[in-house]
Assembly symmetry: C2
Homo-oligomer: 454 residues x 2
């Protein structure tokens, strides 16, 4: 019997736990699932004989210590900042660890200690990061094996609403942490490199320098740049690549409307808006507009942002209810970003029958024997329901498959790692296809070198 400890039973753990339960007998696993909400943990493994859910404070070393000692493998679904303490316990008790989060500098420093303890800590084993790394590295390794020289690498991922549930003018609903959506892009300029030139996009331009991407039969999307594309040169071994660009996907038209909130300052999370606890939605918008004794908030906003009355942007803004004279009833004054988030949560909420969608898209251009070649690769997956969402499947299933490989001895690496080597990505991508995570690759006759990033 192999013992698996899962810390955290939230949304992103659902499909992983279903995989564990379905395979527990065959693989000889016993799974313990601890969550602050014990009932939630129990419900996620109900009906499974070889699994047990219970209440656990994963941040308490005394509570988690004996469980980590018991386990052969720990999966930490805690918020990213807490993985490091779990990792130290895993080294102490010589237990393997998987997390879906970006590897931190502190985590990297544990590499030699992990090697010495004979364990592996696999990071970035989710969707973005995770499946993006694995699917990109697969293509990149194939190109390299052919002797191709990489010229362009672009990669975009988006968590969106499935077409059958897409019934609002923004073509967007919250399928993941709303706060991250509201503050996306803040905290520094987006960096990338294009044709050998470093390029920087400040926050106030980020949603106006988007790239349009068509993915048949799903239609048109747009991508805005992620904060730091440059670090992927090292991670993917693309040190001399002239163009590298990573971004986030939305439906076409989202960014131009979203930029209205950026421009007026409504996404700022750095200060508390005085008097905001008693503000209506209309007051909130008005706080960012010039004072005028007679003009309406609507007129002032249209004038300020130069929006025509018949512009689709205007329909989007009105639909959100931002001009309504209804109070939000906060207990205390809040930041602009928080106020906006609460307005959006009312409108961008996934309804019980709604399904989400994950879209991933890669563009690779390489030079082989003096000729440019282009490969486009995309993956689109829909959620089954509100439990087994596309997000839950694409985050949880790579972890589950990776867990199986570690417990079966198929992954022999020790230390702190990312899923970027063939021995890891190949079997995981292959098995993911059974669950609908399939990449469709298109080889183009002619490479498009420019005119793509605007």
């Amino acid at each position: 019997m192999k013992n698996i400890l899962v810390i955290g039973a939230g949304l992103s753990a659902s499909s992983m736990l279903r995989y564990f339960c379905q395979n527990a007998k065959k693989e000889g696993w016993f799974i313990k699932v601890g969550d602050q909400n014990g009932d939630l943990a129990k419900s996620k493994v109900s009906g499974c004989e070889q699994a047990e859910g219970f209440q656990l404070n994963g941040l308490d070393p005394e509570e988690r210590g004996p469980l980590i000692q018991w386990a052969d493998l720990v999966i930490s679904m805690l918020p990213a900042a807490y993985h490091i303490e779990v990792a130290k316990d895993c080294i102490k008790y010589k237990t393997n660890l998987i997390t879906p989060s970006y590897v931190s500098d502190a985590m990297k420093e544990l590499h030699q200690q992990c090697v010495d303890a004979g364990i592996v800590i696999m990071n970035e084993m989710g969707v973005d990061p995770g499946i993006d790394h694995m699917s990109a590295k697969k293509i990149l390794d194939e190109v390299e094996a052919k002797g191709g020289k990489m010229h362009i690498f672009e990669s975009f991922t988006g968590g969106l609403v499935a077409p059958q549930s897409d019934n609002n003018p923004w073509n967007y609903k919250f399928t993941w942490n709303p706060r991250n959506v509201v503050v996306a892009g803040q905290g520094g300029a987006a960096k990338f490199i294009q044709e050998g030139q470093y390029k920087y996009i400040p926050y106030n331009r980020l949603f106006r320098r988007t790239e349009i991407i068509k993915i048949a039969p799903y239609g048109e999307f747009e991508g805005y740049a992620n904060r730091d594309s440059l670090k992927y040169r090292d991670i993917y071994g693309l040190h001399d690549i002239p163009t590298i660009y990573r971004g986030t996907l939305r439906r076409k038209g989202f960014s131009k409307a979203w930029d209205c909130f950026v421009q007026i300052g409504a996404t700022d999370d750095s200060y508390v808006l005085e008097g905001s606890k008693d503000m209506t939605k209309r007051d909130f918008i008005n706080a960012f507009l010039p004072y005028h004794p007679y003009d309406s908030v609507e007129l002032k906003l249209r004038h300020y942002l130069k929006i025509d009355q018949d512009d689709v942007i205007w329909d989007k803004l009105v639909w959100l209810g931002i001009f309504e004279k209804t109070k939000m009833n906060f207990k205390e004054d809040v930041t602009p970003a928080f106020f906006l988030q609460k307005i959006l949560e009312e409108k961008w909420k996934l309804e019980p029958q709604d399904k989400d969608m994950i879209v991933m898209w890669h563009k690779i251009v390489y030079n082989l024997n003096g000729k440019f070649h282009e490969i486009n690769s995309h993956m689109v997956i829909m959620g089954e329901d509100q439990t087994h969402t596309a997000m839950s499947k694409t985050v949880g299933l790579p972890i589950a498959i990776c867990a199986k490989m570690i417990l079966n001895g198929k992954i022999q690496q020790k230390g702190v790692h990312l899923p970027i080597t063939q021995e890891i990505y190949e079997p995981i991508l292959t098995e993911l296809e059974e669950y609908g995570v399939r990449f469709v690759e298109q080889k183009l006759d002619k490479a498009v070198l420019y005119d793509v990033i605007v």
Copy 2:
């Protein structure tokens, strides 16, 4: 004999030290001036028998301790962050202290200790803050004495180039710390209140929501909002005032052109621009523009910011040399803000014969017996030369006069204070008039309530 210790002999100390030297005999003062640059300190008091300049590390408690003990009054011209340690020494040795900087929270906490030690620490005794407080509070107290109820308080100050030295299309030269000019307005939204409504302007809109101010015979200026106007409600005792707004003055047309740098992200000081040590000015601008294989940097910038070729903004940008293929030769990669600062320093440098100018403007509207009244008050002062600049005079002379009043026993306050009470501002403003710091007051028949802040 009364002993004065001045820590720091830089530009802003010049006019103060001249005042001390001119009055030393009459008042019975001995002045010691310490600066990291001993020669500079000596030169600023040369020819004065009752003064001595020398090399001093003002940050070293062992060096400054005996000097503070010797002195009856210390004037700290150190960077703002270092005043607090000097203040603690002043309490220890029971020596009075004046600084021209904003009072910090740490400084405020020393109030009772100062009272117990029987000393006064006078802060914000310069021009802005300083003369702005004193001149505003004088009008406000007069209005209050008449029974007027304050409705609007607006106050703007600018350090500019004098008209006779104003020979560039920006109508601007650096007369003070260039870095502060480049990063002005960053770090949060500008806050103010207008007609009882809280208003917030994000950085990316700050230079587009300016107010035009005409001051005869000097012409037109424009003001952009300072970070936090709201705290002046408490400082000035204007708790219920419907409109309060403080800002910085530039010549009309500056802000619209400056906004180009804000919009492309060239004023960002939060990250290092990769490869910037080898960039030309042209490369620097290009780093913020979309890639294109054929279009020029000029065309891309015009297109990106929608600037017509015959727009005066374009003349301003070209004049700065931002499209030149000349390298800056930095030793290491720098931030965008630093790169831009160095470009600007070449062009906005005060020439040896150039003179600077300080402009201050207040607008006060109050209600008396059911009728609105408006008072405008302005002060314009030119520099004499590169030593006794308008900035040096307006920062240094209030300190010098305040010093005299403390040493003469005219200021009886003990503790940590600002110059906002009549016993302080009245004599200082009166004596400042002898040095050309004169406010011209205009009472308007009709108050302008709206349409001012756009």
